[in-house]
């Protein structure tokens, strides 16, 4: 399994063509208290850069972009009762949705952890 990062502060764990997507710790710290997550329905298809998911904080609603194209296979329904998990555990228990990748070559444009950490350090 390999973890990749986007410039929009999503992460994706990829194993073969299966991916798990969430937002980074930096993203949750910028958003502040998260009060609701609008999760995508299983079976829906998305293109890389689409926003299948919305994270609501006290301040604002923010799009979560899909790092890759594919079909949503499931979502983290536990966030319905506990959206604050995205604040407390953004890069594990606060994952958002699972996706079956339609084109693994899209991963080539994403960052690894070292590159992402350097990117955030510049912000």
């Amino acid at each position: 399994m390999t973890r990749y990062f986007t410039q929009d502060h999503e992460w994706i764990d990829v194993d073969g063509t299966s991916g798990v997507v969430g937002i980074t710790d930096y993203a949750q710290s910028q958003l502040g208290d998260i009060t609701y997550v609008d999760l995508p329905a299983a079976g829906s298809t998305v293109k890389k850069g689409d926003a299948p998911c919305v994270v609501d904080s006290v301040k604002a609603a923010s799009d979560v972009y899909s790092p890759v194209s594919g079909t949503i296979t499931s979502a983290n329904d536990a966030l319905g009762d506990a959206p604050e998990t995205v604040n407390t555990d953004p890069e594990e228990g606060g994952w958002l949705f699972r996706i079956d990748l339609s084109d693994v070559s899209e991963l080539e444009g994403l960052m690894d952890k070292a590159a992402y950490d350097a990117y955030v350090a510049e912000l």
């Binding site: 502040g32 208290d33 009060t35 609701y36 609008d38 919305v54 609501d56 006290v58 301040k59 609603a61």
Partner: protein
């Protein structure tokens, strides 16, 4: 730059640009700061707001010509809410007016203060002087423990306890002159404190050294005022809204409602008599997804309104909103829908405030 800019940064405030200034949106987090204010006491820096002193020969008649206020009933040192209206009765700003010994002290919104000064200068006679108190900072201490914390650091000719809601007076904090009124923008008991800008850090440090007090950012200021059902100029009020639609009849003093003689009086008096086509009301949403400014409100196929402020209510644990709604559909209990990102969210009209006010009106 505002006088407490460095003070906020040193305390970990996350700074954002607002009304042309850098101000703290939060310190430890909006929900924690919101809850702290409701349970203890929060210190807000509102030095971006405009503080004006208006004086001179004929100032009373001149002010009554631009504001729908009855100054004959305005006793010294008690702030009163009023409205700056345009010729059509649209709201240019909402403000507080206090009679001081030799004139009137006005507190106006930060984003509108320069326009307000221009408007007042244009409409007040030359004998009336507008003094912009730019060397004064303004703090608000709000919450059920605000009195206990402030009383410890205040001295004056009479005790702080003599102030009830919407009363004010001159006090000293650590020897510094402070104009203090028992008023605010959270629905809680609390105080607004005007001090020299040069002493703002010392006063803020002293108040925050009290165990009941933490500094609070703009984020919680907005969620607290929304729960209190209080309008925010530029969002809930604008030149396109009338104060009668907004339910601010109390901002048009009784004598003025019959006598008129203020900007927009024709429309305002007609609306008082005949009602308005829409009303500013509260909505509680089902579920947890919030509706924000600009979201449209629907009854079946018809659009019946638009949201002007909305967000998640930390105190109630559910999303709330304020909206202008067609008067026929604006009664509490009416079931409506709000469109958010292409989805219809169920909502119900409720009476406001969303969280009861806890002003101190006397023992």
């Amino acid at each position: 730059m505002l006088p407490l800019d460095a003070w906020h940064r040193a305390r970990g405030g996350r700074m954002v640009e607002f009304a042309g200034y850098w101000m703290p949106v939060q310190y430890e987090g909006i929900i924690a700061e919101h809850t702290w204010t409701r349970e203890s006491a929060g210190l807000f820096d509102v030095s971006h707001m405009g503080q004006l002193f208006i004086s001179g020969e004929g100032v009373e008649a001149a002010l009554e010509a631009v504001l729908p206020i009855d100054l004959a009933t305005l006793k010294p040192y008690g702030p009163r809410y009023s409205l700056l209206l345009d010729e059509n009765g649209g709201v240019l700003d909402d403000l507080m007016v206090t009679r001081w010994n030799s004139g009137f002290y006005l507190v106006v919104n930060g984003a509108t203060k320069w326009d307000d000064i221009g408007h007042l200068r244009e409409h007040l006679p030359d004998e009336v002087t507008i003094n912009h108190l730019e060397d004064s900072a303004l703090l608000a201490l709000q919450g059920p423990k605000a009195f206990a914390a402030l009383e410890r650091v205040v001295t004056g000719e009479y005790p702080l306890a003599a102030l009830t809601f919407m009363k004010g007076g001159q006090f000293k904090i650590d020897g510094i002159d402070a104009w203090i009124s028992r008023s605010g923008y959270t629905g809680e008991d609390g105080f607004e404190i005007s001090i020299p800008a040069a002493d703002a850090e010392r006063v803020a440090d002293l108040i925050c050294a009290q165990p009941e007090v933490k500094p609070i950012g703009l984020g919680a200021r907005d969620s607290l005022r929304l729960e209190a059902g209080l309008p925010l100029y530029g969002h809930d009020l604008s030149p396109d809204t009338s104060p009668i639609e907004a339910g601010l009849l109390f901002g048009i003093n009784k004598r003025r409602r019959t006598e008129g003689g203020f900007p927009g009086a024709n429309r305002i008096m007609r609306e008082i008599a005949e009602g308005t086509a829409r009303k500013w009301v509260g909505l509680v949403l089902e579920g947890r997804q919030a509706a924000r400014e600009g979201a449209t409100v629907h009854l079946g196929a018809d659009q019946v309104g638009v949201v002007t402020s909305g967000g998640f209510s930390p105190s109630r644990g559910e999303p709330i909103a304020m909206a202008y709604i067609a008067s026929a559909n604006a009664a509490p209990g009416t079931k409506l829908e709000i469109e958010v990102r292409g989805k219809r969210l169920a909502a119900e009209v409720v009476s406001t405030p969303f969280v009861p006010h806890r002003y101190f009106r006397g023992a």
